[in-house]
Symmetry: C2
Subunit: 125 residues, 2 copies
Amino acid sequence: MRMPTTPNHLDQTLLALADPTRRAILQRLSAGETRVTELAQPFAMSLNAVSKHIRVLERAKLVHRRREGREHLLSFTPKPMDDVARWMDAQRANWSARLQALDDLLQEEDRAAASAPADKKGRTR
Amino acid sequence: MRMPTTPNHLDQTLLALADPTRRAILQRLSAGETRVTELAQPFAMSLNAVSKHIRVLERAKLVHRRREGREHLLSFTPKPMDDVARWMDAQRANWSARLQALDDLLQEEDRAAASAPADKKGRTR
DNA sequence: GCATCGTTCAACCTCTGGGTTGAATATCAA
DNA sequence: TTGATATTCAACCCAGAGGTTGAACGATGC
């Protein structure tokens, strides 16, 4: 039925980043403000296609557009990437916490086994 | 013409992460190995849909599957996320390096202006 | 005014993503 | 064997992504 679930910030940021053209654009922009045409120049695709990519990046708030006469100057905005970084850090913290807990548990068992050496079914490790 | 450009690792990882269901799956998995059905249980969608999400995560090598009888046990694999983190760090380093350079330049100009106070056209800031 | 430049809008195409349902496959339990 | 359980495969639907081309539109420069 395809509910109209509004995609959240992480969705849009990650989606925007999941394309090599758009990552290249960001890379270029992190070196400084750039016009649309200039930005499109190195790519083997129409200007229109690049324009669309830029809109995706804007939607994700990864780039900001400043109009100056007929030129549109794009610049990189790092904040959404910070949010992604935070999510990933939390995720990895979770993960390593669990590994640590597992490790603690194993050491606990080892100690228990050592103090009761009659136990036959030893864990292989 | 739709060239068959094979998507690289970053593409697949970021694409896999750009969906709330899949992020939730990873979150669950970072707490430990889980069966497919158990994993699907909290979601308001068919088991099949979740199965597809899992395949996307596998393609991105974010989860690993271990068969045990008829059960498939999924576990989280953090490496691809490390790669993403590295890319983002590089990106942000780039960005702040440029800001720093800009800042240095401005201070340089300020010093020049101070040592030649006759200059009329002062930068407004 | 008029041509040109920088950019987007609109329409279209094809491929993929996320979802469905129904059937197939493999394992377990009796 | 037979039936239940865990999971995928296959076919389909619809919306959206990524690309194209052609036209429109607002600044700029004679």
